[in-house]
Every structure is written in C-alpha cells, then in structure tokens.
C-alpha cells in the first residue's frame, strides 16, 4: 500500500517538476511548482513527519509560490510567453542531469546501508507535539537555542527588508537634510 502511494507521489512530483521547466507560460510553471510541492508534502506524510508536511504546505505552497506568482504578476504582461529553449540547450541539460542522476543513483545504490537507522526515526518523533517538545527543551536533546535565535533572525530580516524596500520620500529627505546640517 505504502509502496504504491510512494510510486504515485513520486511520479506526480517528477511529472509536475518537468512541467515547471518546460511550460511556455511562466504563470503555469508556478502553478505546476505548487502541485509538485504538494507531492513532496505527501511524501512527508508517508514518513510520519506530519509537522514537516504542514510546514511544507504552509510555507512553500502558501508562502513561497504565492510570492512567486505575485512577482510574475508585477513584472510580466499576462499572456506573454517565454522563448522556448533551443535544442542544443535541451541536449546539454539532458546530459548534465543524467550525469547528476547517475552520480546520485550510483552513490545511493552502493552506500544505502550507511544510512543510520537509529536516532529520531520512531513514528511519534515527526508529530507536532514531539517537535514542539524538542524545540522548547532545555536539555541536551532540545533545540531551544536555535529556536530563540530564529526570532532575532526574523526581526533582523524585517528591519533590513523595510530599509531596502522603503521609498525615499520628500519628507524623509528633508529630515536627513536637517541631520546633515549638524
């Protein structure tokens, strides 16, 4: 049962990922990306990692792809088509990706046994409450320190983004003029 689901999900991911790079309309590409990301969220559910699956849906599908669509609406005209890739480019792409595939396939086929089977691999470890307990745990297994530092990271990003995105208004210029006259 799980194997069949895995195969269906993988085929779905691969199909939509191919569409992302081949469709002529860039908006359709973004929608295909969304479908592909849904597929990987399904894979996380198969692995009992419900928290990761939810994060995938909330952050990537709800955030990142929507953001991409906004960027597309703001920068391109509707109905505009991207120029299709030339044949030599597709050829090079195929060669490079098959090398990458062969490399990774060979690596995993040979060394799959070196993957750890210990550690966090029980079913409940991917659940929401388990992740929450680890994030707020002050013990050796806990991740309270990165959890706290992320808040600083987010604050810093907001400040920086506001500074960069802020329009330089007249009023502000006057303000800085008065600062200059010290």
């Amino acid at each position: 049962m799980i194997d069949t689901l895995f195969i269906i999900l993988s085929l779905m991911i691969i199909f939509f990922a191919t569409l992302v790079v081949t469709l002529p309309n860039i908006l359709h590409c973004a929608l295909a990306l969304m479908a592909s990301l849904f597929g990987s969220a399904g894979l996380y559910i198969l692995l009992n990692a419900e928290m990761t699956a939810l994060a995938q849906v909330a952050v990537y599908i709800g955030g990142v792809v929507i953001f991409i669509i906004f960027a597309i609406f703001l920068t391109t005209r509707m109905g505009e088509k991207t120029t299709p890739s030339s044949l030599p480019k597709i050829g090079w792409g195929l060669v490079l990706s098959s090398f990458a595939f062969a490399g990774f396939y060979g690596f995993y086929a040979k060394y799959l046994n070196s993957v750890s089977t210990t550690g966090y691999s029980t079913a409940e470890d991917g659940s929401m409450s388990a992740v929450g307990k680890i994030l707020l745990n002050t013990g050796s297994e806990g991740l309270i320190i990165p959890f706290e530092i992320v808040s600083v990271l987010l604050l810093m990003t907001v400040i920086g983004a506001v500074v960069i995105a802020r329009a330089e208004t007249k009023a502000l210029n006057c303000d800085s003029e008065s600062q200059e006259n010290i």
């Binding site: 070196s114 530092i149 600083v152």
Partner: protein, 475 residues
C-alpha cells in the same frame, strides 16, 4: 555562571537600544548619538569578553559552549564591529563620502550588531542547527548592507549577486547537513564526534562533508568560488566592505576550525590535501587578480582572497600550531585591514576610491602616507611589522606538518604580492596628481582609530608575549 554568555546576550539588546534611541530621541545630533552609543556599548562588550576567564569551559543550556578559543574569536568579531561602527560614523555625515550620505543610521548599526551576534552563535554552537542559523544571521544582514546605497545601480547589482551566491551556499550547507543527519541520526557535535570515531570512512558522511566544505569555500571566497567577492566588495559601502573582509572571513574560518577541531577531528587528515591545494590556488589567483585592479575596494577584495589562502595553509599543517597561528594572524589582519580601510575612507571623502586618488598623498599628508606604507608592508609580510610575524607563524604551522613545498610556494606568492602593494605606494609617493587636490579632512574618530590601529600593526609584531598567550589559551 551566566556571565559567560552576558556578552552574547548584550549584543541583541544593544541593537534594540540603538533602534529605540532612533525612535524616541529627537535631537539634531542624532547620528552622532546613535554611533557613539553603539560604539560605547560594543566597547563594553569587548571589555567584558577580555575579562572572562579564558581557561574554563562553560556550557549554556548544554548546547552553547564558551571557552578560550571561542572567546578569542568573539573578541575578533567584537573588535571588528567596534571599528566598523567608528568607520561608518564618517560615512553618515555630509561630505563623508563621494558616493553620498549613508542613510538609516540606526538600522545600519543594528544590522551590523545582529550580524556580529550571528557570528557569536557560529562559534559557540554545539549542534548543527544553531551553527546554520548563526551562519544565516551573520550573512543575511550583509545582503542588506551591501545594497545600502539604494540609488546606486552597481550597489544593487552587487547585492543581488551576493544574495544569489549566498542562498546557493546556504542550500549547499543544508544539503551537506542532510547527508550528515542521514549518516549519524543526530545533529549534536558529541554524537557526530562519537560516530566519526567509530566509522571514520562512512561514505555518506564524507559526501556531506564535501558539500559543507564547498559552502565554506564560498563564504571564504576561496578559488574556484571567489567570483562574487570583488563585485560585492566594490558594491558595498566601505565600512561594510571592511566588515566583510575581516569579520565575515573570520566567521568562515571559525566555522571550519570549530568543525575540524570539534566533531570532525578524527577525520581531519582527509581534508589536508584538498585544503592545501585550494589554499595554494587561492593565493595565486588572488595575487594575480590584485595586480590588474585600479579600484581600491576591488583591490582589497583580491588582496583578502590571497590572505584567505595563506590562512587556510596553516590548517594543512594539522598540528598544535595551526589554530593559535590562525587566531594570531586574524588579530593582525584585523588591525591592518581596518587601518587601510580608514585611510581609504579619508581619501574617499571627495574623490572616488581609486589608485589615482592616492596621488600626492605623500605631500598632502605625510603621516597618512607613512601609515599606508606600514599597513601595506604588514600585509605583504615585511619584518619587523606584525604581518611578518603572523605570516611566519602560519607558514611555520604548515611546515610543522611537513609541507615544505607548499610553504615555499606560499613564500614565493607572498613575494609576488609585494609587487602590487608597492604599486599603491608608488601612487602615493611618486606619481604626481593631474590637478590641484582638495585638502583632506580627517575627523577625530578617524585619526583616533588610525592611531590605535597603527600602534597595533607595529607593536603586535614586536611583542612576543601576545602570540604565546594565544598559544597558551588555545593549545
């Protein structure tokens, strides 16, 4: 025992303090107040760091380590932050720089301080997630700061390149981590260490290590991942360039050292040859690239690429001297580079920061020209300046491992570098300016900082106890 992490905790508080001063205080001297408060705060943190006992280990919440090595790195970061704030003060006033006034002062300072906080986290981290988030916290502010001259197209272009390359780096680090997690099943350093001890040649783990080290090479601007550095160094405001070339580089080195002398210690020898070869290529490319530059910040980029090569060479030696010699050199590199950037900031007030703007410096300001010569000779490694002692220790560390060929190659490279450092001196002393020069203004902050840094460049090379203290702490 909380005193061990007080400096780390004070940093974000200081950043918030600076931001709130900007919000709540109305004053004509606000710019000066902001920069002075920040500088005073960072000075307090530096004093706190130096007063902590360097011979003890302390774990905060079991996953945040403070010891002598980490304190030394934090001192390097805090001192660079201090001088960057002083350097930035000159750019936030009228006529501070020919590219315009640096606006949004409080945010500028706060971003720098957050960045330093990220660097603190990188060195203190005891598991990979803190290490990664610290690295991000140390990098993302630099994207914003690189784009700080918002109306300058080249500034935006450089920042864009930096973001794309930086995101690629983060992705590589995470890919490497995922391999490590797959092999070990845990993210803590202790677990990784015991895993590596029992399975030194687990292929999964080594594959992850390749990705992580490729990412570090990006951050360090090692060849073949160095192409972003000259563009970004040129695009950024000069204080940011100074911070990038000293603090960001030290962060990447701290990242390597905490991993190689922490969880990866049992397989350190695996990295010897790749690191040695990369170090040699890096210093050669940096030196050759620097010869053809005429823009001072771009020149400093290539010069610092070459310096990164020398620093990585010490890690090849693998012996007891490696870490102390690198930290000693970083202190000297900090003093020399910041001194040069202060000189560049004085020159750049009315003229573009190019080689040609140095013309006539010896007549206009003999003292400044003299200091320029001292700094450049120190970077080139001429005795008796600090740079010589530092480089000598780096090379000695490589020689300790028996890599005499590499040492000879590096010494030759160091000789080549003298050529382009002399080019700058030639501009300052021999070439005549084409038109009459406007007089140079130098503020109190600038002269004060240049004086202190020059003193450091001269004295650190002459006093022997400084290096032995570092060796005692780290070794």
């Amino acid at each position: 025992m909380l005193t061990f992490v007080t400096p780390d905790m004070l940093l974000p508080i200081l950043a918030l303090l600076v931001l709130s001063i900007d919000l709540f205080i109305e004053s004509k001297n606000k710019t000066a107040i902001l920069f002075d408060t920040a500088a005073a705060g960072v000075l307090l943190i530096i004093v706190l760091l130096f007063n902590l006992p360097h011979d003890q280990e302390f774990y905060y919440l079991t996953n945040y380590k403070v010891d002598g090595l980490r304190l030394l790195f934090k001192e390097i970061f805090a001192i660079s932050l201090f001088f960057t704030i002083l350097l930035g003060k000159g750019y936030a006033r009228k006529n501070g720089n020919w590219r315009g006034i640096l606006k949004y002062d409080s945010e500028f300072i706060a971003l720098l301080i957050f960045c330093a906080f990220g660097m603190f986290c990188v060195v203190s981290a005891q598991e990979l997630i803190t290490l990664f988030i610290g690295l991000e916290l140390a990098t993302i502010p630099m994207y914003f700061l690189t784009a700080y001259y918002k109306k300058d197209q080249s500034s935006l272009e450089g920042a864009m390149k930096y973001i794309i390359m930086g995101s690629l780096t983060s992705a590589l680090v995470l890919l490497g981590y995922s391999f490590w997690y797959g092999a070990v099943g845990c993210l803590r350093y202790e677990a990784i260490l015991s895993f590596v001890q029992t399975n030194p040649d687990n292929p999964m783990f080594l594959a992850g290590a390749i990705f992580v080290f490729a990412a570090v090479c990006f951050k360090l601007a090692m060849v073949p991942f160095h192409m972003w550095a000259p563009d970004v160094y040129q695009a950024a405001p000069t204080p940011v360039t100074a911070f990038l070339s000293v603090a960001s580089k030290s962060t990447a080195i701290a990242f390597v050292i905490t991993l190689l002398y922490g969880p990866l210690a049992p397989i350190r020898h695996v990295f010897t040859y790749p690191l040695g070869i990369l170090a040699c290529i890096t210093m050669t490319v940096g030196n050759l690239g620097a010869m053809r530059q005429y823009e001072l910040r771009r020149f400093m980029a290539y010069s610092s690429i070459a310096q990164a090569g020398y620093i990585m060479l010490a890690l090849v030696g693998n012996g007891k001297m490696a870490v102390p010699s690198i930290i000693y050199y970083l202190f000297i590199y900090l003093a020399t580079n910041f001194c040069l950037f202060f000189i560049i900031s004085v020159i750049g007030q009315k003229r573009p920061e190019e080689f040609a703007s140095l013309r006539g410096l010896a007549k206009q300001s003999p003292a400044l020209a003299g200091i320029l010569v001292l700094c450049l000779f120190s970077l080139a490694g001429i005795p008796p300046l600090a740079g010589f002692t530092g480089k000598f220790m780096l090379f000695a560390s490589a020689a300790e491992g028996g890599f005499y060929g590499l040492v000879i190659f590096a010494a030759l490279n160091s000789t080549v570098s003298l050529y382009y450092y002399l080019l700058l001196i030639k501009e300052a002393y021999i070439n005549k300016p084409e038109e009459d020069l406007e007089s140079l203004e130098i503020t109190f902050t600038q002269s004060f900082s240049i004086a202190i840094l020059t003193l450091a460049v001269v004295i650190l090379g002459l006093i022997p106890w400084f290096s032995s203290i570092i060796t005692k702490i780290v070794g």
